[in-house]
């Protein structure tokens, strides 16, 4: 990138936008839209210029506090770059969806942009201290967005969300301080290199005794809360349901990916042997996440809780893929690992896009229904609002994993990779696909189909502005369903680079 510090720029843009939005009053949404758009353009520029060999490029590195091994160290590869693009898209969608914020719009959009900055920062940081700042930075705006603009039970939901993820963060902090004590390094690349040579475990053992396994557990727990992995997920349904829908879009589209990203960028490279030795219990938890997440969704009556649990289920496939590939493999096994990891990364992007779109549609339904979102209260909406139902139907079928739409590709590759590596967990997990189908078709049955509930006889359909805003999103779902190589082309070299450095 000719020396232009684009990764710094991409983080500073939303922060600057937030500062402006704060004082922009009723123009705040416009400012936020513009900022999010610039963020998207910059993230696409990053995406276009990633190194072709899948390594980390656009590195910016400057000493910060050398005595503490704290560095300003940024970089992006296929994984980070894709997450940048996803965060930018989801933020743009979220800002666009939030056109009914009447109370303190300045603060609202400033917080949204700060959250975006947190996402951007944590997807590019390569030094623990630096990364941790952004990891926490994204948490605070999310907390206030739920707390101040949420639904009736927002207080409890926000608290639970905060305390839960804070506990995860504390675990991460403690573990990395321990690593620092042992190695005097906070650099992810350096730590991963030490781990791959086996030196890391030796150093930790020398300084702190046999705690490597506990450190791995702590780091995994920190990320597992964020993803989430059952049973560390109980904050999620309440937070997703009580947050205003545009904020839920950010939570599910962006923040949940921070956890999976953290596993791939931080936990697996540094703790690969420990994860490999815990593989079986982790796989059991992942399968439970996939299956029980879907099943819990089937029991929900609140649209937002249905899709909150459905998100748990979808991210469960990512966890399944990651844990399944944590095993020494060569030859055919390596091909399966590559397939699974490609699938995981595609699933991250596709779930982010699709889930954010679904919550967007829910926001539109809520706007029209005066906040109602119990699936039994609707019925026959196809009659008054065919376009809304048709477009939302596409997003729902993408979530269901229909081939030809984006959701299928990631799931197919994950199963392709997982089956040879752990056929039992793959076999149990396909149940999740079936249950998800029931969940989604039940939503369609109760909300869109059936006799029209007279209450909604004049339910307005999408107006032109909304249709126009949705066209690129739906178009992207179809495009990525038909030509996934658009993403895989860039992701696959990174997958190979990552796998080459992981020593299980």
């Amino acid at each position: 990138m000719n020396g232009f510090p684009i990764l710094t720029a991409i983080i500073l843009v939303p922060i600057a936008g937030a500062a402006v939005a704060l004082f922009a009053g009723k123009h705040a949404r416009g400012v936020a839209l513009l900022t999010a758009l610039i963020g998207l353009v910059l993230s696409l520029v990053v995406w276009m210029h990633l190194p072709a060999d899948g390594s980390i490029g656009m590195v910016e590195r400057a000493a910060w506090a050398p005595s503490l091994s704290i560095e300003y160290h940024l970089g992006a590869d296929g994984l980070g770059g894709l997450m940048l693009v996803l965060s930018a898209i989801v933020t743009l969608m979220s800002v666009d969806a939030a056109h009914r914020v009447h109370r303190q719009p300045g603060l609202y959009f400033a917080l949204v942009l700060l959250l975006e900055a947190g996402l951007f920062g944590s997807f590019t940081a390569l030094n623990f201290f630096h990364w941790f700042l952004f990891w926490e930075l994204s948490l605070i705006p999310a907390f206030f967005l739920i707390k101040l603009w949420g639904g009736a039970r927002r207080g409890a939901a926000a608290t639970q969300f905060f305390v839960y993820t804070m506990a995860g963060s504390v675990a991460l902090l403690v573990c990395f301080l321990a690593l620092f004590v042992a190695t005097h390094s906070m650099d992810f690349g350096n730590l991963a290199w030490l781990a791959s040579t086996g030196a890391l475990a030796a150093m930790v053992n020398a300084h702190l005794g046999h705690v490597m396994m506990w450190l791995a557990v702590g780091v995994l727990a920190g990320f597992a809360v964020k993803v989430p992995l059952m049973p560390l997920h109980t904050w999620l349904p309440a937070a997703y349901a009580e947050a205003p829908s545009p904020v839920t879009m950010l939570l599910t589209g962006g923040m949940s990916k921070m956890g999976v990203y953290g596993l791939l960028r931080i936990a697996v490279p540094i703790f690969a042997p420990q994860i490999a030795s815990m593989r079986t219990p982790l796989l059991v938890l992942a399968v439970i996440t996939v299956v029980m997440g879907a099943w819990a969704a089937a029991a929900q009556r609140d649209l937002k809780r249905v899709f909150a649990y459905s998100s748990v289920n979808h991210l469960g496939y990512c966890l399944l893929g990651i844990f399944a590939l944590a095993v020494p493999a060569a030859g055919a096994g390596a091909a399966s690992q590559a397939a699974a990891l490609n699938g995981v990364i595609l699933q991250m992007f596709n779930h982010g896009l699709t889930a954010a779109a679904i919550f967007w549609f829910i926001a539109m339904i809520q706007e029209r229904s005066g906040g109602e979102r119990w699936i039994d209260d609707f019925g026959g909406l196809r009659k008054p609002a065919p376009v809304l139902c048709g477009l939302m139907g596409i997003a729902l079928f993408s979530s269901l994993g229909l081939p030809g739409l984006n959701g299928f590709v990631g799931e197919f590759l994950i199963f392709r990779g997982v089956f040879p590596l752990s056929w039992i967990s793959a076999t149990f997990s396909v149940l999740g696909l079936l249950v998800t189908a029931v969940v989604i078709l039940t939503v369609i049955l109760k909300v869109f189909n059936g006799p029209l509930n007279e209450k909604w006889a004049s339910f307005p359909d999408l107006h032109h502005g909304e249709r126009l805003a949705l066209v690129p999103v739906i178009g992207l779902m179809i495009l990525l369903g038909l030509v996934p190589q658009l993403i895989v082309n860039t992701v696959n070299p990174t997958v190979e680079a990552l796998l080459a450095n992981w020593r299980f």
Partner: protein, 694 residues
């Protein structure tokens, strides 16, 4: 994108094969355009659909002619075009299409029957407000179905297969405001997906084992000898080889799609859709896709037998196919006897006939099963469209007990329907169903494992003749028992009936023992079925037997139902004589009730368990931990206020109120968090400083 789509054509494919993709893509494009049309553009929507499918038919005929010419000239009859879809790791996921006798025949059948049904739909759906949407879905269906047919990759086939399932879902629930239609749509999708998750597992297993999902790829494909040898060398569980296990997993998908036991329950309910949909999707094409799938992966299914020189059809996988097919055939035929809805009778008949096809595939090979598939497609489409014409003409009446005497009011419908009915019964010599069903019986008689399926299928033939005669007697004979007088349907509906009736007779003659053109055309060396001519000992005896059975069924039906015209409220003759049996048949063996009480009840119960676990157990654990923290905090506060001075608190207060903007949130709790955060930062700094000094 151009780079990725680079075509890999090992053996130079002909231009016709290169452009084969146009056949499915044309209707899909038409569907995409129709999706954007406003409802009033009815003419344009139907013209687009019919125009695009005509193009597909035209191209299919050219492709068919091309393959026939190649076959006649003893040239290679299989051309494939493959391309890389995605590259993961060092492996590529390839897709492609194949032109061979199997796909060529299917292409012509699907596009031809589809086109007739499209035309018929103009008349049938004339008054529907969602006419445009109907043709949009119908075109998407046709495109995806043609995609299933030409796929040279299990993955591409699966993708199109699922989209076909989607369109089936959309069209069953086309009248979405009817709760029964909406429920039937969901049931269809979910039930077929039960099969599809096993199909998916079979597919990823095949991919992992052979490294490719292409069927044919110049010796590298998963159905070619190298891959098959590899699969046979790997044992799976239960004494199966990997080939057998994968074959059975794939067969699960076919069981769902083709309405075989135990996943047949969705197909009769699917009759909630408009009748042209029932004819096209749930009789002629989509439900036959399962049969087609097994025909396509036949080398996999019979790999063990071929490699060990055993009789074809004796592998465990094919034995399962046979048994499932034979049991389904008789099971559904029994149910069909006791139904009163004109479309449901045909639906059970379809389930039963699909069972015949599966059994034919299992025992006799590709050609035997496929021949019945093709003839069935024509006469069953004819019967469904005839039923639609009856429903249309009797003002939406579907109960055969409230019809009667329609042979006078609807002569064209009557004549064509009778032809379809005779073809389905397998009436001797003149009708196509006779020849194709005879092929299956013939194979069953020679099956090396056991003769039981043969007896089942012969009995099924008797039942088929009986229930179809009962239906025709109720609908067309006797006197009119309905309310408003019936009328004949418009030409746009009757013309397709005539064409289909013509083919229901004619098609039989391309596969008779005297001139088994169809069988020879489809039989590659791998298919394994040997041809038997009229000189085959026992063949005439078999044909005579089956003719007698069919005639017996018809005579029995006519004797019981033909000379009576019972009033709609009077119990059925069989009900009067054998009440308990009738109840069971009428209740469809209570399979739906059984599933409702077991699988479905478990499903929702388990969902509530998952929810309960979440709220009470996991949530409860968190609540307990929170409570402990709160208790600790209270203790702490007590100590704080009593013993420690308030300096630290004060500092934190300043911190939070200094936030200015955030000071609105003076709930007290937030201060706690900020305090926690501050504590964390201080802790971090202390540890960092300490450790850096060390």
């Amino acid at each position: 994108m151009q780079d990725e789509m680079l075509l890999i054509a090992p053996q130079a494919a002909s231009a016709i094969a290169q452009w084969l993709w146009l056949i499915p893509v044309a209707p899909i494009v038409a569907s995409g355009i129709a999706a954007l049309l406003k409802q009033p553009r009815r003419q344009l929507a139907s013209s687009l659909a019919i125009g695009s499918l005509s193009l597909s038919l035209f191209l299919s005929l050219i492709a068919f002619g091309h393959i026939v010419a190649a076959w006649a000239a003893n040239a290679p009859t299989r051309e494939v075009v493959n391309f890389t879809w995605i590259e993961v790791g060092s492996q590529s996921v390839d897709l492609g299409w194949v032109l061979d006798p199997l796909s060529a025949i299917m292409l012509v059948m699907v596009s031809f029957v589809g086109l007739l049904i499209f035309i018929y739909s103009i008349g049938y759906m004339e008054h529907d407000e969602n006419f445009t949407r109907f043709f949009c879905f119908l075109s998407l269906f046709a495109g995806a179905m043609l995609g299933v047919v030409i796929a040279n990759s299990l993955l591409l086939l699966f993708m199109c297969w699922e989209i076909v399932g989607l369109t089936s879902y959309l069209l069953i629930g086309f009248w979405y405001h009817k709760p029964s239609a909406a429920a039937a749509a969901r049931k269809a999708f979910v039930t077929t997906r039960v099969g599809d998750i096993f199909f998916l597992l079979g597919m990823v297993w095949l991919f992992a084992q052979t490294g490719t999902l292409l069927f044919y790829n110049d010796g590298e494909g998963s159905l070619e000898s190298g891959a098959l040898a590899n699969l046979l060398a790997h044992p799976a569980a239960l004494g199966l080889t990997a080939a057998g296990a994968i074959g059975l997993l794939i067969f699960c998908g076919a069981v769902g799609k083709s309405g075989q036991l135990p996943l047949h329950v969705w197909l009769p309910d699917a009759m909630e859709g408009p009748t042209p949909v029932s004819a096209l999707i749930h009789a002629a094409t989509m439900v036959a896709a399962g049969v087609y799938l097994i025909a396509r992966v036949y080398p996999l299914m019979q790999a063990g037998a071929v490699f060990h020189g055993l009789a074809p059809g004796s592998t465990p996988a094919l034995a399962v196919v046979t048994w499932v097919g034979a049991i389904t055939a008789i099971f559904a035929a029994l149910i069909a006897i006791a139904q009163d809805d004109i479309k449901r009778i045909l639906a059970y008949s379809t389930v039963s006939q699909l069972g015949y096809m599966m059994a034919g595939l299992g025992m006799g090979g590709v050609a035997v099963g496929m021949f019945h598939l093709i003839t069935h497609a024509f006469f069953k489409a004819l019967l469904f469209l005839g039923a639609g014409s009856v429903i249309h003409g009797t003002h939406e009446e579907q109960d055969i007990r409230r019809m009667g005497g329609l042979k006078a009011d609807m002569p064209v419908t009557f004549a064509t329907y009778t032809i379809g009915m005779l073809a389905l019964c397998g009436f001797p010599l003149l009708f196509s169903g006779f020849w194709s069903k005879d092929g299956i019986l013939e194979a069953a008689k020679h099956w090396s494992v056991t003769r039981t399926p043969f007896y089942l299928l012969v009995f099924g033939a008797l039942l088929t003749a009986f229930y179809m005669t009962r239906q025709v007697a109720y609908v067309f004979f006797g006197y009119w028992r309905g309310r408003r007088q019936a009328h004949e349907s418009p030409r746009v509906m009757t013309r397709p009936l005539m064409i289909l009736a013509f083919f229901s007779i004619l098609l039989g003659f391309i596969g008779t023992p005297a001139w088994p053109w169809f069988q020879k055309f489809l039989s590659s060396p791998a298919a394994g079925a040997e041809m038997r001519g009229f000189h085959e000992p026992g063949l005439l005896l078999l044909m005579t037997t089956s003719s007698i059975v069919v005639l017996a069924g018809i005579v029995l039906g006519a004797w019981i139902y033909g000379w009576r015209s019972p009033s709609p409220d009077e119990p059925d003759v069989l009900e009067q004589s054998a009440r308990p049996i009738w109840r069971v048949l009428r209740g469809k063996f209570f399979v739906d009730e059984f599933y409702g009480a077991t699988v479905i009840a478990f499903f929702w119960w388990w969902g509530r368990v998952a929810d309960w676990l979440d709220r009470r157990i996991w949530g409860g654990a968190v609540a307990a931990v929170t409570w402990m923290f709160a208790a600790w905090a209270r203790l702490n506060r007590f100590l704080d206020t009593n013993w420690v001075d308030g300096a630290f608190d004060k500092g934190c207060d300043e911190l939070s109120s200094g936030g200015g903007l955030l000071s609105r949130v003076q709930t007290g709790r937030v201060q706690t968090y900020l305090r926690l955060l501050a504590l964390g930062v201080i802790l971090l700094a202390v540890i960092l400083l300490w450790s850096s000094r060390a």
